[in-house]
Symmetry: C2
Subunit: 366 residues, 2 copies
């Protein structure tokens, strides 16, 4: 499939929140996550082809702003994403993200998109993919600790890929659990809102922690974690932001990570020695390492989110809008006749022709 949505001379395709929401609604969240899992597996199988680096992080008092670049040699992807747990008290989202996909051959952007919704989908798909290869088979009960923006996507991903039928919700904010329960009322899942964390994890075979506080919290205590459980720990994702009692990691039979250098900085294992043994997921997918040896194994996915997952999601979106549209064209790159004559764009200031921009400006400038 050609990497181009439109020619680089036509402008840069942009997917707005509204367009993304409509597209995903029509496509179906579970179908979208299912297809993303396939795409993620294909890209994790070619792990070695990606130019990888730990994400850039600019930390401030209440949050972090991150850049997540990655390239497979043909396309370059970068996500701009923040993490400000305090934002919900300001009636703003914890995470605001945007993504760019570009052509390595000429450096031109080929896609610009909202990435709040897309990130929730790719994170749910990554969690489901890890569970598919690292959790016990035939599980039916999921405990969902932290019922914020990610929770419904996480629940539907585990339903679609793992066949989860019961979801046990817990959040220190009961309204968040109720919100998640209401959103999933018609999902076909048996939703149980729990008043305590102990009640939520009771009998759960998969425990997902997706809390947001930027502290070294102990969301899961060691004493409530039984043998054979699979822990999908995705809320701890930057220095000083973790969720698990370190004893859980110490006694785990296997701790699985995405890109080890980044997880050493950002993951649950930041609280352990730098030689604490972990396995990068791609090795499990390739069959080089077994995720679990017995039904009693305690396996933990220390997920922080890696740039290649956003690359996969951006290419997935690229393919989707190539088929069905739903994008705008942004007038982002000058298109003058002589590429060396950038000055003519200012001197003439009417050389660029972008239908959407003309439309838009007539609105913004009126």
């Amino acid at each position: 499939m050609s990497k181009f949505i439109v020619s680089p001379k036509e402008g840069v395709p942009f997917v707005s929140v509204q367009a993304m929401a409509k597209m995903i609604h029509d496509y179906g969240v579970e179908q979208c996550i299912t297809d993303l899992v396939d795409a993620l597996e294909q890209d994790y199988l070619r792990w070695d082809q990606f130019e990888k680096s730990s994400r850039f992080a600019s930390h401030s008092k209440d949050g972090v702003i991150e850049l997540m670049p990655v390239s497979d040699g043909e396309m370059f992807a970068c996500k701009y994403v923040n993490g400000h747990p305090i934002n919900t008290t300001r009636n703003l989202q914890t995470v605001a993200a945007m993504g760019i996909l570009s052509d390595v051959e000429n450096g031109y952007p080929i896609l610009l998109t909202e990435m709040c919704i897309l990130t929730a989908l790719r994170t749910a798909a990554t969690s489901a993919m890890l569970a598919k290869h690292c959790a016990p088979k035939g599980v039916t009960k999921l405990a969902l600790i932290g019922n914020g923006a990610q929770s419904e996507f996480q629940a539907l991903g585990m339903k679609a890929i793992m066949g989860i039928s019961e979801v046990r919700l817990y959040d220190i904010d009961p309204a968040a659990s109720q919100k998640t329960a209401d959103n999933l009322a018609d999902s076909g899942l048996n939703i149980i809102v729990c008043r305590t964390l102990e009640e939520a994890v009771l009998s759960a075979e998969i425990i997902t922690t997706c809390t947001a506080d930027k502290t070294n919290a102990t969301i899961l205590r060691d004493d409530i974690i039984t043998k054979g459980v699979y822990i999908n720990a995705i809320g701890g994702d930057c220095p000083g932001k973790t969720e698990l009692d370190s004893n859980i990691l110490m006694r785990a039979d296997h701790v699985i990570v995405e890109f080890e250098p980044q997880t050493r900085i950002e993951g649950e294992i930041q609280n352990l020695s730098s030689d604490f043994p972990v396995t990068e997921f791609h090795r499990i997918l390739k069959g080089e390492v077994q995720a679990r040896k017995s039904a009693d194994d305690l396996v933990v996915f220390d997920g922080v989110g890696f740039a290649s997952e956003d690359f996969t999601a951006l290419v997935f979106l690229r393919d989707l809008i190539k088929k069905q549209g739903g994008y705008e064209i942004l007038d982002l790159i000058p298109q003058q006749a002589d590429p060396k004559n950038l000055y003519s764009v200012v001197k003439g200031h009417s050389k660029n022709h972008s239908l959407v921009t003309n439309e838009a400006e007539s609105v913004a400038m009126s």
Copy 2:
């Protein structure tokens, strides 16, 4: 001045190429560069307040894709920029850039913009500011070696800030020189198109090299550089891409850089030992170090472009559009009532209300 153009709940202001071209045309290129020099000086004076890092670079066969993040603790800026000299043979620009400015307090983007034109302006302003503080006083003749996309902006910047009256053009592509001469015909500058580099540098007091080839070229030979000349070398800006005979640097009385760690990797000094003495410009601006001690001094600015200059340009643009508009509103961040209820945006897929997006989608989707 408030850092917000519009409230974070209203969407993200976007400046298109067409809007930028009109704004700069109406504002005047020389006035714009003059104001940018003032703004750059203010920010270079508070150099220590910026969180600085060398830019991220992803190199490929024909070019490079870079991310340039920087923060002053209140706002975060990042420029996406590529460098593909081969692009002109594809009728594409060597550089395609976009910029994002965001609010450190909540991580939300507050401005998204084209940055090809803005980068040409900030680079011309940076060159003019360095010349203002490091070149001899009373100079009138500029040699401009390399007459591509940056050349007119460079000439007008040196005219506005240094009082340059004569510009001597040379490029291996005569059509590029003619293009620059035509664009500057009504600038009030005396433009001389030269057939050889020697002819161009003859009698020039400032020599600007802004060539694009990604090679360790020797655009300027040591034997044609006379005493007292100021060299503004801005074309060499990544590993394997330099313009000067190393002997020029060796015999220079002073080599000035922006952010030393980045210039060691990307600048002309990449060809010299890692302890070759250089001075960061902010020290000269603060009066800690003298740029030149005698009229005979050979001073070289080894410019590569630093993220704080883009920060300054983005804040300048932010202030400009706050006064006069000229931006669109992008539907980039979900705006649902409950920030924890991201899922509702997909379930409802009609929660976002962006006038421009509605306009745009009615076009893109029709």
